[in-house]
Amino acid sequence: MSSAPHKKALLKVIILGDSGVGKTSLMNQFVDQRFSNQHKVTIGADFIMKDMLVDGRLVTMQIWDTAGQERFQSLGVAFYRGADCCVLAYDVTNSTSFKNLDPWRDEFLIQASPRDPEHFPFVLLGNKVDLAQDRAVSRKKAEAWCQTKTKMPYFEVSAKEAVNIDLAFQTIARAALARESQDTQDFPDFPAQVLLDCGNAKSSSFCSCQ
């Protein structure tokens, strides 16, 4: 009982992307199955929790929505730590939001500095595919980008029309769960300087040195 291999997992997911790409709407569509144009701009950060089944296992998703404006970017990093999956979102009708995916990913990697960063799960969502006539980034281009990023999974979604949302979040949850169960020491709670003091420790496990 105490070892409880199937205790309910808490999966922390962060959604990042430019202002206006629809991060809040994606989250709301997934959690409440509805789209509203009444939601306000996100200032700071907010999260929603939702229970879901992943391959027969009950998990709780804690999804963090952060402000997209660059000025707020640095403030949200307090919430990056401990993430099990990072969702990058862009707007298929806005090519700048696609170009900015690299900086968002970099920022996450630097700030969260996950161990084994090559295998940290990212998922890319291209939102607003309902606006097909305004499309500015092709699926091919997005897929090519994902290929260069250790084959990041990619979904074309619409928060407004509820296209592919469940499928995408199933994948996100699965990736997060795999990450979470594989390593509980992902984001050891250290200030950066402690890590660097591990001077002569030969072991890569930096928490063992004194």
Partner: protein
């Protein structure tokens, strides 16, 4: 739920203990007002009726002679229970309050700056000065004289798109009694209104939430007066700092004072919040938008604006503390984890006794005046936090300074190159240039001249570095190899420079060399050193660097050392002096050129390689960072 009417009263301090099970979300968000309060409400309505008559009488009596002479009376109306009551009164009184904003006095600002730097700084370099120079510079920056009012030019403004995007998401903020048509008109007016205010000062950086403030003004005052009041608030009020400085060094610093108030009023709740490293992000929008973003009721919002227009600039911080104190029982019933506490406080209950809370805020402000709060109280609070921190066990000892240097050198190259920092860096560089201008002009350099001078500068910098990274000797098992890592990149650096010269349009190949501004590059170097010192705190406060704050400090040392060395080498005159020409610098072009060239030389790859090379030179500690940098360079 009673409001606190006097902090520290026994009644409040002993209020409900929470022994029951903790929950993950707080329960007061859908609270109904207590029915028992009804007779009280009736009495309040009656009192408000009397106040309404009193304000009307007052305005009728003094309107003709001009209301500016009666600012104390108007402030009193605004701050006392019920506030200004009617939007008609507000439309008349807000512009007068805005023209006579309560200002923070100079002593206060100075004291605050010195307290902050003495107690929070981990660096030997931060000083009171570090908080002030931007402030002083701004005061001297003349507000753009040309008035950009035509729509087309406003649409060119760099923030137009972002503002428009945010204005589109204000639907939820309109009171229900506004017709669809009227709402659309207001939204159409809002974007140009905001951008016109931003355009008044080229150094204003729009932040999301500023649009909430202007929407409130627009709803109450209409277009013209909203513009007038908005301009006053952005140049003289609390929003000025938010528009000019980083959010870390403006609003988050203010919000720390909320903790100071909480600690003095209710140590238990402050401890719970600090214990989970809650921070202040849950309250971020409160001062940033004067509560207009998080409050759900229009009347509550305008009531807050009454208060803030008539009070000290940090009044929103007192109200923030009052809100947290009022919600104490909800907060204490939430599970003690950062996300849950954040989630609880981040959502404002629908029903809030706003008048009582404003009363509380006023009480707190009298009880702990801003001057004392920012001075002695803050100092004591920081000591207390420090003491608590030092009691916590530390896993390992601090790293050697030398170690910090190398890591930061590598990381910072990567980080500084990130887009946001780049804008900051070019901005500072342009300001330094402007300060070092000679009167008169000089001919523009030819591109080959500029290349020669550029190479000379790189050579100088390289010859200076050995004297500056003395510290590396102690950290790398093979320091010579480490030195080699950096020298290996000299070629890349030179390519980069050539690219920048070409892309930024700083030189000319035109036979007729135009006359351009004349700079004293020796002063540029000297001023650069001074400026770097001064903006140290601001740069380091960016949270990208916060997690490696100690390291970042060390890299600054390194940079300063190289720069002062270069300044000495050029004491007799720079290459440009000898050639008798100057390059041209234009901020936008320079920034664009820098970005383009960084992309072209594929800087991320080089940073990654530098990291790997340093690791191979025996800096084994980098083995966690290099993979991240390597990953960033995959394209």
């Amino acid at each position: 739920m009673p409001s606190i009417s006097a902090p520290n009263t026994p009644h409040r301090r002993k209020s409900q203990r929470h022994t029951s099970k903790l929950v993950t979300s707080c329960n007061d968000v859908s609270d109904e007002m207590d029915e028992e309060l009804d007779p009280l409400r009736v009495a309040r309505w009656r009192a408000l009726g009397d106040k309404r008559k009193a304000i009307a009488r007052f305005l009728n009596k003094h309107r003709k002679e001009g209301l500016h002479g009666y600012i104390d009376e108007l402030r009193h109306f605004a701050v006392s229970p019920g506030g200004l009551i009617d939007d008609d009164f507000r439309a008349e009184i807000w512009p007068i309050l805005a023209a006579n904003l309560v200002v923070e006095d100079e002593d206060e600002a100075e004291l605050y700056a010195s307290t902050m730097s003495l107690s929070t700084s981990e660096s030997d370099f931060e000083s009171a000065v570090s908080e002030l120079p931007t402030e002083d510079d701004d005061r001297n920056t003349p507000v753009s004289s040309q008035v950009e009012t035509d729509l087309a030019s406003l649409q060119e403004h760099r923030e137009w798109r972002q503002v428009e995007l945010d204005v589109n998401r204000t639907l939820a903020r309109f009171p229900p009694d506004i017709s669809e048509d009227h709402r659309v008109t207001l939204q159409d007016d809002l974007t140009p209104l905001i951008v016109e205010i931003l355009a008044a000062n080229p150094r204003f950086n729009y932040y999301q939430g500023f649009h909430d403030v202007l929407l409130t003004l627009l709803l109450v005052l209409g277009k013209e007066k909203a513009l007038e009041v908005g301009k006053k608030l952005s140049t003289g009020g609390s929003f000025r700092n938010y528009l000019l400085k980083s959010l870390e060094s403006s609003v988050l610093k203010e919000l720390q004072l909320m903790y100071v108030i909480l600690e003095r009023c209710d140590a238990e709740i402050e401890q719970v919040m600090r214990g989970v490293n809650l921070g202040s992000l849950f309250a971020l929008s409160w001062p940033l938008t004067w509560f207009s973003h998080s409050l759900q009721n229009y009347h509550q919002i305008v009531r807050c604006f009454d208060l803030f227009l008539a009070s000290h600039p940090i009044a929103p911080i007192y109200l923030s503390a009052a809100v947290v104190l009022y919600r104490r029982s909800s907060v204490l019933s939430v599970e003690r984890e950062m996300p849950f506490l954040h989630g609880c406080l981040n959502h404002m209950p629908h029903e809030l006794p706003i008048d009582e809370l404003i009363g509380d805020a006023n009480y707190l402000m009298k009880f702990m005046p801003p001057l004392t709060l920012k001075g002695r109280y803050l100092e004591n609070y920081l000591k207390l936090v420090d003491a608590a921190d030092s009691k916590r066990p530390r896993g390992t000892k601090l790293p050697s300074r030398a170690m910090k240097r190398i890591v930061v050198s590598v990381l910072l190259i990567g980080i500084v190159a990130a887009k946001s920092q780049m804008d900051k860096v070019t901005k500072i560089a342009m300001e330094v240039l402007e300060q070092s201008r000679y009167p008169g002009t000089i001919r523009q350099c030819r591109c080959n001249e500029e290349e020669v001078c550029g190479k000379e500068a790189i050579g100088q910098a390289l010859s200076c570095t050995p004297g500056c990274y003395y510290a590396f000797d102690k950290v790398a098992s093979n320091p010579r190899a480490l030195h080699g890592c950096i020298q290996q990149k000299t070629g890349v650096l030179q390519d980069f420079l050539q690219c920048v010269i070409k892309e930024s349009g700083s030189c000319t190949n035109n036979a007729a060399q135009p006359q351009v501004s004349h700079y004293d590059f020796r002063r540029v170097l000297q001023n650069g050193v001074a400026r770097l010192q001064a903006s140290r705190a601001d740069i380091l406060s960016s949270s990208t660097l916060k997690s490696i704050r100690n390291f970042a400090n060390a890299v600054m040392d390194f940079g300063l050392c190289v720069e002062s060395c270069a300044a000495q080498e050029n004491a007799a005159g720079t290459c440009f002096d000898r050639k008798g020409c100057n390059p041209v610098f234009e901020e936008k072009k320079a920034r664009k050129g820098l970005k383009r060239c960084m992309k072209r030389i594929n800087w991320k790859v080089h940073v990654g390689q530098l990291c790997d090379c340093a690791m191979a030179a025996g800096v084994s500690e980098l083995n966690r960072f290099c993979p991240i940098l390597r990953l960033m360079s995959t394209h």
